[in-house]
Amino acid sequence: MSLPMMKEESKSRSVEAKREGPKLTVKDFKGRVDPDWCPGCGDFGLLAALKQALVELELQPHEVLTVSGIGCSSNLPGYVNAYGMHTLHGRAVAVATGAQLANHKLKVIVTGGDGDGYGIGGNHFLHTMRRNVDLTYLVMDNQIYGLTTGQISPTSIKGMKTKSTPFGSVENPINPIPLAIAAGATYVARGFTGQVKQLVELIKGGIRHRGFSLIDVFSPCVTYNNDNSHEFFKARVKKLEEMGHDPTNFHAAIDKAYLWGDAIPIGLFWKRTDLPSLDELEPVLAEGGPLAHRPLGVSPEAAKALIQVLM
């Protein structure tokens, strides 16, 4: 139950192996179809940042697996030239965990919406963070349910008027940043689709990080959320780097995360590298390579031993 606050780098975190293959550009990561998002949707910014990050990390399309749920934002895997799974609403993180553990050589990137991840997907979110599964989770947080044409999400501000709350929501929203820190995520950041350059760095940092990284991204919905628009954020976001924030400072991370008003911090709130990721801790993966590549079946000796104990 204890979460010691040590800050030592754990060993053997080789992050980027040397890449073979041709050097790629953003175009190489373009998916089979163009996004069908509304013109001006914040999600375009995230898509651009993600492709840029993949290029800069010198990853090959087949080395990457994007996993999403259902929602406008969850359509993203279709727009990236990489392996992808467009799963059920709320289940992306669970599916991604299975895929990551089955083939821990893949870079598994989970993308989706605030409703998908923090609403219906909340339980997987919680437990995946505490397990520190090596996933990079990009939440396109537009504080609304976009695809279902505008209802409150768990991050909608109190008082927000939507189709499901025509007189204003009476519920307190969650704040994903402190929640993720308390739940045990080891890389917790917030981005804004209006700040693509920083976003690229945050995503690269998340993919490099061994363990669970959450990047909650303000990705305004131009169609259903008038309260939290591109302009709203543009006028308010402030980079943590510029605020002198130390992402290894636990209290500072939490305090900064609660700031909301004229200055809304974006950047890396919290990072710890002393906790190994789940695949690193799992003895079955210690040797033999990805499970998915191992031969099937049981050796005759092992079979014999299994039967022996039944006799």
């Binding site: 089979r32 399309p61 279709g78 289940r91 089955a102 799992e282 299994l306």
Partner: protein, 594 residues
């Protein structure tokens, strides 16, 4: 006792340590090459309450818990009070007379009272009565002391020589006391010279998974399926199987689907309530065309129901699981050994047809135990992973890869993430051959129809690979008994008893439920004079399904839904009542109060 057939009942409270004497006896039996069937009636309580373990052994295969008890070993007064009345002439009751008083026993029942105080005056704890009783019991059934000595020595090895010695002493005291005071049974426990193993259904399912090459197993604990998790957790590391306990069953099935898509054979097990939570995702596996195996170990429902009791009540749940039509394979193994064999069979099918497979077990199979000839536990099973392309670096196809290429079989070759050149996205939204969604911009009713038909076409291919059910027993029978899944053993035994009573019956057991060999069944049943369907549920779930697929209406039904499994005489009585025209539906009353 015409052929040798011995049934022992051990009853007491949870926490009284019934499992140990049960295990020791089972080991003694199988090491003598005797067959075994064990069923434990227990409750959803950790300490107290009442447990009743029935162990039955014979030189012939033992098909069910049977109808009678030869030995009763009540570990407390409650158990004595509940079960003494079940004992009839020739039976023996072994009990600690210090604490337990018998009521009135039927004539010819030997009441074998021993005194723990006398036989083990210096030993503390309640477990000692179990060991004494075990010693005495073995004496009664004509077993030398040596096998018990061996097993006790192994059993207590970790606890050191003193404990071994103490237990051996106590067991010996019981053994010797029985020699002096009790009348032994008129036989000695046979030894066939063979050596069997014994296991429970959940172990069999887990081992079947290991044999099939499962590399990823995940679960959320739920009785009576938890045994699969426990076996996997115990053996996963040595076998290279990743085992995960997940936050809930929704996480379980989705994680399994993720692992399966990445290329592992992935399996999970739960009971009905957990299965309900998984139902949405099973449809998603079918839509994304990802092979995954999910086991539903049925227990008495609805809702939380009776968690430690058996039922065959989830058939309609698994048939209807998830919205919309999608290809799925549903199989109900018929014996514990069949559990082992079914898993690799099913994995080959789901891999070939890229769809979910569901195994319907139940508490009776999964927590029941049976002997097995070790030669039947062949881990070297055929493995067919279906069409996976790009594995040998065979390079990308000339055209862009189409994950969901339309085909006559409904099968499209799949490529695993990580494979260079076969990039694609799988989706739970309806999609085109190339994986692009046809639920938004590219919506198209013709394509939707084609994709839906493609998926559903798989069902024909699957059926063609399933073994059709076969009739068992005489062709000219008066009556045909039809069951599915776990009831095979008890129905077979009922058949024998019916024959003894002059009623010629035969038997059709259905294992592969979906898709169903309707034509084969129709042609078999068309030969049958009278059909009686036997199932362990209230509403006749299989009878209704059978009618929907074949139009067959049975002349009678034997149904049980009190949480306990059928005993052979329940079926026999039901068949007689139905043949006599007394009723069309017969619901037996469970006589053993557990």
């Amino acid at each position: 006792m015409a052929k040798f057939d011995l049934a022992i009942g051990i009853g007491g409270a949870a926490g009284q340590g019934i499992a140990t004497p049960g295990d020791i006896l089972a080991r003694i039996f199988v090491r003598r090459g005797l067959h075994l069937n064990a069923y434990n009636a227990y409750q959803s309580i950790i300490r107290g309450g009442h447990i009743f373990l029935t162990l039955r052994t014979s030189e012939q295969p033992v098909l069910s818990m049977g109808d009678k008890l030869d030995v009763l070993l009540p570990l407390n007064q409650d158990s004595m009070d509940r079960h003494l009345k079940l004992m009839s002439a020739g039976a023996a009751v072994l009990y600690n007379g210090d604490k337990i008083k018998p009521g009135t026993a039927a004539d010819g029942v030997q009441l074998c009272s021993f005194s723990v105080k006398e036989l083990a005056p210096n030993i503390k704890g309640d477990l000692v009565q179990n060991t004494i009783a075990l010693g005495a019991l073995l004496r009664l059934i004509g077993v030398e002391f040596k096998p018990l000595e061996e097993i006790l020595t192994i059993q207590f090895k970790r606890k050191g020589a003193a404990v071994i010695a103490e237990n051996l002493g106590v067991a010996r005291a019981g053994y010797d006391y029985a020699t002096a005071h009790f009348k032994p049974f008129p036989f000695s426990l046979p030894d066939t010279g063979k050596k069997f193993a014994f296991f429970e259904g959940n172990q069999a399912l887990a081992m079947g998974g290991a044999a099939a090459g499962v590399r990823f197993y995940c679960a959320y604990p739920m009785s009576p399926a938890t045994g699969v998790l426990h076996w996997m957790a115990r053996h996963g590391r040595e076998l290279g199987i990743m085992v995960r306990q997940v936050e809930d069953e929704i996480g379980v099935i989705n994680m399994a689907i993720g692992a399966a898509h990445a290329g592992c054979r992935a399996m999970c097990a739960t009971s009905g309530g957990g299965f309900a939570l998984m139902s949405e995702a099973l449809g998603s596996a079918a839509m994304m065309e990802i092979p995954v195996v999910c086991i539903d170990v049925q227990r008495a429902g609805p809702a939380t129901g009776v968690p430690t009791k058996t039922e065959q009540g989830d058939l309609w749940q698994v048939m209807g699981a998830g919205q919309g039509d999608y290809p799925r394979i549903i199989v109900a193994p018929t014996t514990i050994t069949d559990c082992f064999k079914t898993v690799p069979e099913l994995f080959n099918l789901v891999d070939k047809f890229q769809c979910p497979g569901i195994i319907l077990s139940d508490l009776l199979l999964s927590e029941g135990r049976s002997s097995v000839d070790p030669s039947e536990l062949d881990f070297n099973v055929p493995i067919d992973r279906g069409e996976i392309i790009g594995l040998n670096g065979d390079g990308p196809p000339a055209n862009a890869y189409q994950r969901y290429k339309l085909s006559e079989s409904g099968i499209s070759p799949r490529a695993l993430p990580g494979t260079p050149g076969y990039i694609h996205v799988v989706a739970t939204d309806e999609h085109d051959e190339d994986g692009v969604l046809i639920s938004d911009e590219f919506t198209n009713p013709h394509k939707r129809q084609a994709m839906h038909e493609k998926r559903m076409r798989k069902m024909e291919g699957i059926l063609s690979l399933l073994e059709p059910p076969k009739i068992f027993g005489p062709g000219n029978a008066q009556v045909t008994l039809l069951g599915w899944g776990s009831t095979q053993g008890v129905i077979r035994e009922a058949l024998e008893k019916l024959a003894e009573a002059g009623i010629v019956a035969n038997h059709l057991q259905i294992k592969w439920l979906v898709p169903l060999h309707s034509e084969a069944i129709q042609s078999i049943i068309s030969q049958s004079k009278k059909l009686i369907i036997v199932e362990n549920n209230y509403s006749g779930q299989f009878a209704r399904y059978l009618r929907s697929e074949t139009g067959i209406v049975a002349a009678g039904h034997v149904r049980k839904y009190d949480g306990e499994p059928f005993m052979p005489h329940h079926i026999v009585d039901g068949v007689k009542a139905i043949l006599a025209g007394a009723s069309q539906k017969y619901v037996p009353v469970h006589e053993v109060m557990v």
